[in-house]
Protein backbone atom coordinates (compact mmCIF):
# COMPACT_ATOMS: atom_id res chain seq x y z
CA UNK A 1 0.00 0.00 0.00
CA UNK A 2 1.24 3.49 -0.90
CA UNK A 3 0.11 7.07 -0.43
CA UNK A 4 -0.63 9.11 -3.53
CA UNK A 5 -1.24 12.84 -3.66
CA UNK A 6 -4.73 12.44 -2.21
CA UNK A 7 -3.41 10.09 0.46
CA UNK A 8 -0.79 12.59 1.55
CA UNK A 9 -3.41 15.35 1.55
CA UNK A 10 -5.73 13.22 3.68
CA UNK A 11 -2.89 12.38 6.05
CA UNK A 12 -2.03 16.05 6.50
CA UNK A 13 -5.67 17.02 7.03
CA UNK A 14 -6.05 14.29 9.64
CA UNK A 15 -3.08 15.61 11.58
CA UNK A 16 -4.32 19.18 11.36
CA UNK A 17 -7.78 18.25 12.61
CA UNK A 18 -6.52 16.50 15.73
CA UNK A 19 -4.15 19.36 16.60
CA UNK A 20 -6.97 21.87 16.24
CA UNK A 21 -9.24 19.87 18.51
CA UNK A 22 -6.62 20.20 21.22
CA UNK A 23 -5.99 23.95 20.96
CA UNK A 24 -6.84 24.69 24.58
CA UNK A 25 -4.66 21.90 25.92
CA UNK A 26 -1.72 23.16 23.87
CA UNK A 27 -2.10 26.72 25.07
CA UNK A 28 -2.41 25.53 28.65
CA UNK A 29 0.82 23.55 28.37
CA UNK A 30 2.59 26.55 26.81
CA UNK A 31 1.49 28.83 29.61
CA UNK A 32 3.48 26.86 32.19
CA UNK A 33 6.79 28.28 31.04
CA UNK A 34 5.99 29.92 27.74
CA UNK A 35 3.61 32.63 26.70
CA UNK A 36 0.47 30.55 26.33
CA UNK A 37 -0.05 31.06 22.65
CA UNK A 38 0.97 27.68 21.27
CA UNK A 39 -2.60 26.46 20.78
CA UNK A 40 -3.53 29.62 18.92
CA UNK A 41 -0.42 29.51 16.78
CA UNK A 42 -0.82 25.83 15.91
CA UNK A 43 -4.45 26.43 15.06
CA UNK A 44 -3.44 29.19 12.69
CA UNK A 45 -0.72 26.97 11.21
CA UNK A 46 -3.13 24.10 10.71
CA UNK A 47 -5.66 26.46 9.15
CA UNK A 48 -3.00 27.51 6.65
CA UNK A 49 -2.17 23.88 5.94
CA UNK A 50 -5.80 23.08 5.18
CA UNK A 51 -6.22 26.19 3.06
CA UNK A 52 -3.15 25.30 1.01
CA UNK A 53 -4.40 21.77 0.40
CA UNK A 54 -7.77 23.09 -0.70
CA UNK A 55 -6.16 25.62 -3.02
CA UNK A 56 -3.44 23.39 -4.44
CA UNK A 57 -4.05 22.30 -8.02
CA UNK A 58 -0.62 20.83 -8.77
CA UNK A 59 -1.50 17.27 -7.74
CA UNK A 60 2.23 16.99 -7.09
CA UNK A 61 3.34 15.76 -3.65
CA UNK A 62 6.54 17.77 -3.64
CA UNK A 63 4.76 20.98 -4.59
CA UNK A 64 2.10 20.40 -1.98
CA UNK A 65 4.64 19.86 0.81
CA UNK A 66 6.58 22.93 -0.26
CA UNK A 67 3.44 25.07 -0.34
CA UNK A 68 2.31 23.80 3.06
CA UNK A 69 5.73 24.58 4.54
CA UNK A 70 5.87 28.06 3.05
CA UNK A 71 2.39 28.85 4.30
CA UNK A 72 3.22 27.71 7.84
CA UNK A 73 6.42 29.75 7.78
CA UNK A 74 4.18 32.71 7.07
CA UNK A 75 2.25 32.21 10.31
CA UNK A 76 3.51 34.84 12.72
CA UNK A 77 3.85 32.50 15.60
CA UNK A 78 7.17 32.57 17.30
CA UNK A 79 9.20 29.42 17.37
CA UNK A 80 6.70 27.07 15.86
CA UNK A 81 6.23 28.79 12.50
CA UNK A 82 9.81 28.40 11.32
CA UNK A 83 10.27 24.97 12.90
CA UNK A 84 7.12 23.37 11.59
CA UNK A 85 7.15 25.30 8.35
CA UNK A 86 10.79 24.37 7.86
CA UNK A 87 9.87 20.75 8.56
CA UNK A 88 7.46 20.56 5.62
CA UNK A 89 9.68 22.70 3.39
CA UNK A 90 12.57 20.30 3.97
CA UNK A 91 10.38 17.29 3.17
CA UNK A 92 9.56 18.62 -0.27
CA UNK A 93 12.85 17.99 -2.13
CA UNK A 94 12.85 14.41 -0.85
CA UNK A 95 9.54 13.84 -2.60
CA UNK A 96 10.93 15.09 -5.92
CA UNK A 97 9.45 13.08 -8.81
CA UNK A 98 7.31 10.83 -6.61
CA UNK A 99 3.64 10.33 -7.38
CA UNK A 100 3.23 7.80 -4.57
CA UNK A 101 5.11 7.05 -1.38
CA UNK A 102 5.47 3.63 0.21
CA UNK A 103 6.49 3.28 3.87
CA UNK A 104 10.21 3.45 3.11
CA UNK A 105 9.79 6.46 0.86
CA UNK A 106 7.59 8.11 3.46
CA UNK A 107 10.32 7.52 6.04
CA UNK A 108 12.87 9.10 3.72
CA UNK A 109 10.67 12.16 3.26
CA UNK A 110 10.10 12.51 7.01
CA UNK A 111 13.81 12.06 7.69
CA UNK A 112 14.51 14.96 5.35
CA UNK A 113 11.98 17.04 7.28
CA UNK A 114 13.59 16.14 10.59
CA UNK A 115 17.00 17.03 9.22
CA UNK A 116 15.62 20.44 8.25
CA UNK A 117 14.38 21.00 11.80
CA UNK A 118 17.68 19.88 13.32
CA UNK A 119 19.53 22.27 11.06
CA UNK A 120 17.45 25.14 12.47
CA UNK A 121 17.72 24.33 16.14
CA UNK A 122 20.40 22.94 18.39
CA UNK A 123 17.72 21.28 20.48
CA UNK A 124 18.08 17.49 20.65
CA UNK A 125 16.06 14.81 22.43
CA UNK A 126 16.16 15.50 26.14
CA UNK A 127 15.99 19.28 25.78
CA UNK A 128 12.20 19.35 26.21
CA UNK A 129 11.15 20.62 22.83
CA UNK A 130 9.19 19.32 19.88
CA UNK A 131 12.33 17.40 18.92
CA UNK A 132 11.60 15.00 21.79
CA UNK A 133 8.55 13.83 19.89
CA UNK A 134 9.72 14.35 16.33
CA UNK A 135 13.00 12.44 16.45
CA UNK A 136 11.56 9.19 17.92
CA UNK A 137 8.57 9.42 15.59
CA UNK A 138 10.75 9.59 12.50
CA UNK A 139 13.06 6.88 13.87
CA UNK A 140 10.10 4.60 14.51
CA UNK A 141 8.78 5.25 11.03
CA UNK A 142 12.11 4.17 9.55
CA UNK A 143 12.32 1.03 11.73
CA UNK A 144 8.81 0.03 10.82
CA UNK A 145 9.52 0.56 7.13
CA UNK A 146 12.69 -1.50 7.46
CA UNK A 147 10.56 -4.21 9.05
CA UNK A 148 8.23 -4.02 6.03
CA UNK A 149 5.27 -2.54 7.90
CA UNK A 150 2.40 -1.02 5.96
CA UNK A 151 2.17 2.72 5.68
CA UNK A 152 -0.65 2.71 8.21
CA UNK A 153 1.24 0.54 10.69
CA UNK A 154 4.42 2.55 10.24
CA UNK A 155 2.58 5.79 10.94
CA UNK A 156 0.89 4.21 13.93
CA UNK A 157 4.23 3.18 15.42
CA UNK A 158 5.54 6.71 14.71
CA UNK A 159 2.55 8.17 16.54
CA UNK A 160 3.12 5.82 19.48
CA UNK A 161 6.77 6.87 19.63
CA UNK A 162 5.86 10.56 19.38
CA UNK A 163 3.33 10.16 22.16
CA UNK A 164 5.87 8.45 24.37
CA UNK A 165 8.45 11.11 23.51
CA UNK A 166 6.03 13.89 24.38
CA UNK A 167 5.15 12.19 27.65
CA UNK A 168 8.82 11.83 28.52
CA UNK A 169 9.24 15.61 28.38
CA UNK A 170 7.15 15.85 31.53
CA UNK A 171 10.17 14.90 33.61
CA UNK A 172 12.61 17.11 31.71
CA UNK A 173 13.86 20.64 32.23
CA UNK A 174 13.48 22.93 29.23
CA UNK A 175 16.73 23.98 27.61
CA UNK A 176 15.30 25.73 24.56
CA UNK A 177 12.42 28.06 23.86
CA UNK A 178 10.86 30.45 26.30
CA UNK A 179 10.28 27.74 28.90
CA UNK A 180 13.99 27.42 29.53
CA UNK A 181 13.78 30.69 31.44
CA UNK A 182 11.88 29.06 34.28
CA UNK A 183 14.50 26.30 34.63
CA UNK A 184 13.50 23.48 37.06
CA UNK A 185 10.01 24.93 37.23
CA UNK A 186 9.41 23.59 33.75
CA UNK A 187 9.64 20.05 35.14
CA UNK A 188 6.27 18.43 35.82
CA UNK A 189 4.28 19.16 32.71
CA UNK A 190 4.92 18.03 29.14
CA UNK A 191 6.27 20.36 26.48
CA UNK A 192 3.66 22.07 24.34
CA UNK A 193 5.50 21.67 21.04
CA UNK A 194 6.23 17.98 21.64
CA UNK A 195 2.57 17.44 22.43
CA UNK A 196 1.62 19.10 19.14
CA UNK A 197 3.89 16.75 17.23
CA UNK A 198 2.43 13.76 19.02
CA UNK A 199 -1.09 14.86 18.11
CA UNK A 200 -0.02 15.54 14.53
CA UNK A 201 1.35 12.04 14.03
CA UNK A 202 -1.65 10.45 15.73
CA UNK A 203 -3.84 12.36 13.32
CA UNK A 204 -1.68 11.22 10.39
CA UNK A 205 -1.96 7.56 11.35
CA UNK A 206 -5.70 7.67 11.97
CA UNK A 207 -6.45 9.13 8.57
CA UNK A 208 -4.37 6.70 6.59
CA UNK A 209 -6.31 3.59 5.72
Amino acid sequence: MTLDYDGIAAMLRGGAALVRENQDLLSRLDSVGGDGDHGATMTRAMGCLEAVITADTTRDIKSLLHAVGWAILGVDGGAVGPLLGGFFMAMAPAAQGKTTLDAAELATVFEAGLAGVLKQTKARPGDKTMVDALQPAVDALRSAADAAATVHDALERAADAAEQGAKSTEGLQARFGRAKNIKEQSIGSPDAGATSISLLFRGFSRSVG
Binding site: S27, S31, G36, G77, G78, A79, G81, P82, Q120, E184
Partner: protein, 333 residues
Protein backbone atom coordinates in the same frame (compact mmCIF):
# COMPACT_ATOMS: atom_id res chain seq x y z
CA UNK B 1 -6.02 40.19 37.21
CA UNK B 2 -8.87 41.57 35.15
CA UNK B 3 -8.05 42.65 31.63
CA UNK B 4 -9.04 46.28 31.17
CA UNK B 5 -7.61 47.02 27.78
CA UNK B 6 -9.00 49.25 25.10
CA UNK B 7 -9.06 46.81 22.25
CA UNK B 8 -11.54 45.37 19.79
CA UNK B 9 -11.40 41.87 18.28
CA UNK B 10 -8.17 40.17 19.38
CA UNK B 11 -7.65 38.92 15.82
CA UNK B 12 -7.51 42.48 14.52
CA UNK B 13 -5.24 43.76 17.29
CA UNK B 14 -2.02 43.99 15.37
CA UNK B 15 -3.43 45.35 12.16
CA UNK B 16 -5.41 47.97 14.07
CA UNK B 17 -2.47 49.06 16.15
CA UNK B 18 -0.27 49.35 13.06
CA UNK B 19 -2.96 51.39 11.35
CA UNK B 20 -2.98 53.82 14.27
CA UNK B 21 0.81 53.79 14.47
CA UNK B 22 1.08 54.78 10.84
CA UNK B 23 -1.44 57.60 11.31
CA UNK B 24 0.30 58.91 14.41
CA UNK B 25 3.69 58.97 12.74
CA UNK B 26 2.77 59.61 9.13
CA UNK B 27 5.62 62.09 8.73
CA UNK B 28 8.15 59.44 9.69
CA UNK B 29 6.88 56.00 8.69
CA UNK B 30 4.45 54.21 6.45
CA UNK B 31 3.23 50.68 5.87
CA UNK B 32 4.25 48.82 2.74
CA UNK B 33 3.80 45.30 1.39
CA UNK B 34 2.73 42.74 3.99
CA UNK B 35 2.54 45.18 6.89
CA UNK B 36 6.19 46.14 6.74
CA UNK B 37 7.01 49.40 8.52
CA UNK B 38 9.28 51.53 6.33
CA UNK B 39 10.61 55.07 6.46
CA UNK B 40 8.42 57.80 4.99
CA UNK B 41 11.60 59.37 3.61
CA UNK B 42 13.78 56.45 2.51
CA UNK B 43 17.51 56.64 3.05
CA UNK B 44 19.71 57.04 -0.04
CA UNK B 45 20.30 53.61 -1.56
CA UNK B 46 24.06 53.97 -1.52
CA UNK B 47 23.90 53.70 2.26
CA UNK B 48 23.60 50.52 4.29
CA UNK B 49 20.04 49.57 5.22
CA UNK B 50 19.02 48.45 8.71
CA UNK B 51 16.24 45.88 9.17
CA UNK B 52 14.80 44.18 12.22
CA UNK B 53 11.95 41.86 13.14
CA UNK B 54 10.01 41.16 16.30
CA UNK B 55 6.68 40.47 17.95
CA UNK B 56 4.12 43.21 18.58
CA UNK B 57 2.80 44.18 22.00
CA UNK B 58 6.06 45.87 23.00
CA UNK B 59 5.24 49.33 21.64
CA UNK B 60 6.98 51.57 20.79
CA UNK B 61 9.51 48.78 20.01
CA UNK B 62 10.49 47.76 17.46
CA UNK B 63 8.68 49.62 14.69
CA UNK B 64 9.01 52.84 16.68
CA UNK B 65 12.71 52.76 15.87
CA UNK B 66 12.15 53.13 12.13
CA UNK B 67 13.27 56.50 10.85
CA UNK B 68 16.15 58.75 9.92
CA UNK B 69 19.35 57.59 11.59
CA UNK B 70 17.73 54.40 12.88
CA UNK B 71 15.99 51.50 11.10
CA UNK B 72 14.91 51.35 7.47
CA UNK B 73 12.42 48.52 7.86
CA UNK B 74 10.80 46.72 10.76
CA UNK B 75 8.83 43.51 10.35
CA UNK B 76 6.25 43.41 13.13
CA UNK B 77 4.89 40.02 14.12
CA UNK B 78 1.75 39.07 15.97
CA UNK B 79 1.51 39.82 19.71
CA UNK B 80 4.73 38.54 21.30
CA UNK B 81 5.36 36.37 18.24
CA UNK B 82 8.06 36.65 15.61
CA UNK B 83 6.91 37.24 12.04
CA UNK B 84 7.36 34.26 9.76
CA UNK B 85 10.25 34.05 7.29
CA UNK B 86 8.22 35.01 4.19
CA UNK B 87 7.57 38.54 5.45
CA UNK B 88 11.11 38.83 6.75
CA UNK B 89 12.43 37.80 3.34
CA UNK B 90 10.12 40.36 1.76
CA UNK B 91 11.71 43.02 3.97
CA UNK B 92 15.23 41.93 3.11
CA UNK B 93 14.35 42.02 -0.59
CA UNK B 94 12.84 45.47 -0.23
CA UNK B 95 15.90 46.75 1.62
CA UNK B 96 18.27 45.15 -0.87
CA UNK B 97 20.99 47.43 -2.26
CA UNK B 98 24.63 47.28 -3.28
CA UNK B 99 25.67 48.83 0.02
CA UNK B 100 24.10 45.87 1.77
CA UNK B 101 21.73 45.34 4.68
CA UNK B 102 22.47 44.98 8.37
CA UNK B 103 19.89 42.75 9.97
CA UNK B 104 19.45 43.28 13.72
CA UNK B 105 17.99 40.25 15.50
CA UNK B 106 17.09 39.97 19.17
CA UNK B 107 17.92 36.64 20.73
CA UNK B 108 14.53 34.99 21.18
CA UNK B 109 13.90 31.54 19.80
CA UNK B 110 11.17 32.48 17.35
CA UNK B 111 12.93 35.57 16.07
CA UNK B 112 16.21 33.75 15.54
CA UNK B 113 14.62 30.81 13.74
CA UNK B 114 12.63 33.07 11.47
CA UNK B 115 15.57 35.39 10.86
CA UNK B 116 17.94 32.56 10.03
CA UNK B 117 15.58 30.95 7.56
CA UNK B 118 14.94 34.27 5.86
CA UNK B 119 18.68 35.10 5.85
CA UNK B 120 19.48 31.77 4.24
CA UNK B 121 16.89 32.35 1.56
CA UNK B 122 18.08 35.91 1.01
CA UNK B 123 21.67 34.77 0.60
CA UNK B 124 20.57 32.05 -1.79
CA UNK B 125 19.01 34.82 -3.84
CA UNK B 126 22.31 36.68 -3.78
CA UNK B 127 21.28 39.47 -1.43
CA UNK B 128 24.04 41.17 0.56
CA UNK B 129 22.96 40.76 4.18
CA UNK B 130 24.88 40.59 7.43
CA UNK B 131 23.24 40.04 10.78
CA UNK B 132 23.99 41.03 14.34
CA UNK B 133 22.38 39.23 17.26
CA UNK B 134 21.65 41.12 20.49
CA UNK B 135 21.82 39.08 23.69
CA UNK B 136 22.59 41.28 26.66
CA UNK B 137 20.27 39.94 29.37
CA UNK B 138 22.76 38.86 32.00
CA UNK B 139 20.19 36.80 33.89
CA UNK B 140 20.10 34.18 31.13
CA UNK B 141 23.57 32.82 31.68
CA UNK B 142 27.22 33.80 31.98
CA UNK B 143 28.89 36.09 29.43
CA UNK B 144 30.65 33.17 27.77
CA UNK B 145 27.32 31.53 26.97
CA UNK B 146 25.81 34.31 24.86
CA UNK B 147 23.21 32.02 23.34
CA UNK B 148 21.56 31.77 26.73
CA UNK B 149 21.15 35.51 26.97
CA UNK B 150 18.04 37.16 25.62
CA UNK B 151 17.92 40.39 23.68
CA UNK B 152 16.16 43.08 25.69
CA UNK B 153 16.14 46.87 25.29
CA UNK B 154 19.81 46.84 24.28
CA UNK B 155 18.58 46.54 20.72
CA UNK B 156 17.94 50.29 20.91
CA UNK B 157 21.56 51.44 21.38
CA UNK B 158 22.66 48.90 18.77
CA UNK B 159 20.14 50.22 16.27
CA UNK B 160 21.00 53.81 17.21
CA UNK B 161 24.75 53.58 16.67
CA UNK B 162 24.57 51.30 13.64
CA UNK B 163 21.83 53.49 12.18
CA UNK B 164 23.95 56.59 12.66
CA UNK B 165 26.94 54.85 11.07
CA UNK B 166 24.83 53.81 8.10
CA UNK B 167 23.46 57.34 7.74
CA UNK B 168 27.06 58.62 7.61
CA UNK B 169 27.79 56.32 4.71
CA UNK B 170 29.88 53.73 6.49
CA UNK B 171 30.22 50.33 4.80
CA UNK B 172 28.30 47.23 5.76
CA UNK B 173 31.41 45.77 7.39
CA UNK B 174 31.94 48.96 9.40
CA UNK B 175 28.31 49.16 10.45
CA UNK B 176 28.37 45.54 11.51
CA UNK B 177 31.58 46.01 13.48
CA UNK B 178 30.08 49.03 15.26
CA UNK B 179 26.89 47.15 16.06
CA UNK B 180 28.88 44.25 17.44
CA UNK B 181 31.12 46.51 19.48
CA UNK B 182 28.07 48.14 21.01
CA UNK B 183 26.48 44.75 21.57
CA UNK B 184 29.42 43.16 23.30
CA UNK B 185 29.88 46.18 25.59
CA UNK B 186 26.42 46.20 27.04
CA UNK B 187 24.53 44.34 29.73
CA UNK B 188 20.88 44.47 30.77
CA UNK B 189 18.94 43.26 33.77
CA UNK B 190 15.16 43.33 34.01
CA UNK B 191 13.09 43.95 37.11
CA UNK B 192 9.44 42.99 37.38
CA UNK B 193 7.22 44.11 40.24
CA UNK B 194 3.81 43.36 38.79
CA UNK B 195 2.36 41.30 35.98
CA UNK B 196 0.24 42.00 32.95
CA UNK B 197 -2.40 40.37 30.81
CA UNK B 198 -1.86 39.02 27.32
CA UNK B 199 -3.94 41.29 25.09
CA UNK B 200 -5.18 38.58 22.77
CA UNK B 201 -5.67 35.64 25.12
CA UNK B 202 -6.40 37.55 28.34
CA UNK B 203 -3.98 35.16 30.03
CA UNK B 204 -1.77 36.33 32.86
CA UNK B 205 1.85 37.21 32.09
CA UNK B 206 3.85 36.79 35.29
CA UNK B 207 1.82 36.69 38.49
CA UNK B 208 3.86 38.44 41.17
CA UNK B 209 2.68 38.49 44.79
CA UNK B 210 2.16 41.87 46.50
CA UNK B 211 5.37 41.91 48.53
CA UNK B 212 7.60 40.34 45.89
CA UNK B 213 9.76 41.54 43.04
CA UNK B 214 11.73 39.57 40.47
CA UNK B 215 15.20 40.63 39.36
CA UNK B 216 16.09 38.92 36.11
CA UNK B 217 12.53 38.36 34.97
CA UNK B 218 11.61 34.77 34.24
CA UNK B 219 14.86 33.60 35.76
CA UNK B 220 15.89 32.05 39.01
CA UNK B 221 18.36 34.83 39.22
CA UNK B 222 22.05 33.97 39.26
CA UNK B 223 22.43 37.65 38.60
CA UNK B 224 20.40 39.91 40.80
CA UNK B 225 18.83 37.37 43.14
CA UNK B 226 15.67 36.50 41.22
CA UNK B 227 12.43 36.38 43.19
CA UNK B 228 12.82 38.34 46.41
CA UNK B 229 11.03 40.69 48.77
CA UNK B 230 10.09 44.10 47.41
CA UNK B 231 12.75 46.69 48.18
CA UNK B 232 13.18 50.44 47.98
CA UNK B 233 14.23 52.12 44.74
CA UNK B 234 17.78 52.59 45.98
CA UNK B 235 18.20 49.05 47.30
CA UNK B 236 16.79 47.58 44.12
CA UNK B 237 18.96 49.76 41.94
CA UNK B 238 22.07 48.84 43.92
CA UNK B 239 21.41 45.12 43.46
CA UNK B 240 20.93 45.48 39.72
CA UNK B 241 23.77 47.90 39.16
CA UNK B 242 26.25 45.74 41.03
CA UNK B 243 25.38 42.74 38.89
CA UNK B 244 25.75 44.75 35.68
CA UNK B 245 29.05 46.35 36.69
CA UNK B 246 30.39 42.89 37.54
CA UNK B 247 29.23 41.41 34.27
CA UNK B 248 30.81 44.18 32.23
CA UNK B 249 33.87 44.32 34.53
CA UNK B 250 33.55 48.09 34.47
CA UNK B 251 36.54 49.93 35.85
CA UNK B 252 37.32 53.30 37.29
CA UNK B 253 37.49 55.81 34.45
CA UNK B 254 35.04 54.01 32.19
CA UNK B 255 32.33 56.01 30.43
CA UNK B 256 28.92 54.43 30.26
CA UNK B 257 25.56 54.93 28.65
CA UNK B 258 22.66 54.14 30.99
CA UNK B 259 19.30 53.22 29.54
CA UNK B 260 16.38 52.85 31.91
CA UNK B 261 13.48 51.33 30.06
CA UNK B 262 10.08 51.29 31.74
CA UNK B 263 8.23 48.18 30.67
CA UNK B 264 4.69 49.32 31.41
CA UNK B 265 2.99 50.74 34.47
CA UNK B 266 6.10 51.88 36.30
CA UNK B 267 6.08 55.67 36.13
CA UNK B 268 8.66 58.02 34.70
CA UNK B 269 8.83 59.46 38.22
CA UNK B 270 10.20 56.15 39.48
CA UNK B 271 12.58 55.73 36.56
CA UNK B 272 14.10 59.15 37.28
CA UNK B 273 14.57 58.20 40.92
CA UNK B 274 16.38 55.05 39.79
CA UNK B 275 18.60 56.98 37.37
CA UNK B 276 19.62 59.29 40.20
CA UNK B 277 20.77 56.29 42.21
CA UNK B 278 22.54 54.70 39.24
CA UNK B 279 24.57 57.85 38.83
CA UNK B 280 25.50 57.81 42.53
CA UNK B 281 26.44 54.13 42.38
CA UNK B 282 28.60 54.65 39.31
CA UNK B 283 30.27 57.69 40.83
CA UNK B 284 31.24 55.64 43.89
CA UNK B 285 33.26 53.45 41.55
CA UNK B 286 34.55 56.42 39.61
CA UNK B 287 32.61 55.40 36.51
CA UNK B 288 31.19 58.27 34.49
CA UNK B 289 27.56 58.33 33.45
CA UNK B 290 28.33 59.82 30.05
CA UNK B 291 24.84 59.58 28.57
CA UNK B 292 21.45 58.41 29.71
CA UNK B 293 18.06 57.68 28.28
CA UNK B 294 14.96 57.19 30.41
CA UNK B 295 11.52 56.24 29.18
CA UNK B 296 9.38 53.48 27.75
CA UNK B 297 11.07 52.02 24.69
CA UNK B 298 10.39 48.29 24.82
CA UNK B 299 7.37 47.50 26.92
CA UNK B 300 5.65 44.31 28.05
CA UNK B 301 2.09 45.59 28.10
CA UNK B 302 1.20 47.04 31.52
CA UNK B 303 3.80 45.05 33.44
CA UNK B 304 5.41 46.94 36.32
CA UNK B 305 9.18 47.16 36.35
CA UNK B 306 12.03 48.28 34.16
CA UNK B 307 15.11 47.13 32.30
CA UNK B 308 18.42 48.63 33.32
CA UNK B 309 20.90 48.57 30.45
CA UNK B 310 24.48 49.74 30.90
CA UNK B 311 26.92 50.08 28.04
CA UNK B 312 30.63 50.86 28.06
CA UNK B 313 31.15 53.60 25.50
CA UNK B 314 34.13 54.79 23.51
CA UNK B 315 34.47 58.10 21.66
CA UNK B 316 33.07 56.77 18.42
CA UNK B 317 30.10 55.08 20.05
CA UNK B 318 29.31 58.27 21.98
CA UNK B 319 29.42 60.34 18.80
CA UNK B 320 27.13 57.88 17.03
CA UNK B 321 24.79 57.86 20.02
CA UNK B 322 24.62 61.67 19.87
CA UNK B 323 24.04 61.80 16.12
CA UNK B 324 20.67 63.14 14.99
CA UNK B 325 17.83 60.73 14.39
CA UNK B 326 14.10 61.00 13.85
CA UNK B 327 11.94 58.00 14.60
CA UNK B 328 8.55 57.70 16.33
CA UNK B 329 10.16 56.59 19.59
CA UNK B 330 13.35 58.63 19.58
CA UNK B 331 14.23 61.98 18.06
CA UNK B 332 17.65 63.56 18.54
CA UNK B 333 18.23 67.02 17.11
Amino acid sequence: MAMKKLINQPEALVSELLEGFAIAHEKKVRMEGSNLVVRAHPKATDKVALVTLGGSGHEPALSGFVGEGMLDISVPGEIFAAPGPPRVLEALRKANRDAGTLFVVLNHAGDVLSANLAMDMAKTEGLKVESVLTHEDISGGPRNEPEERRGLVGCLPVIKVAGAAAEMGKSLEECKAIAERMESNMATLALAVSGATHPSTGGVIAEIPDDIMVVGMGQHGEAGGGTQSLKSADETTDIMLTALIDDLTLKSGDNVLVLINGVGSTTLMELYIVLRRVKQGLAEKNITLARSLVGQYLTVQEMGGFQLCIARMDEELLALWDAPCDSPALTVK
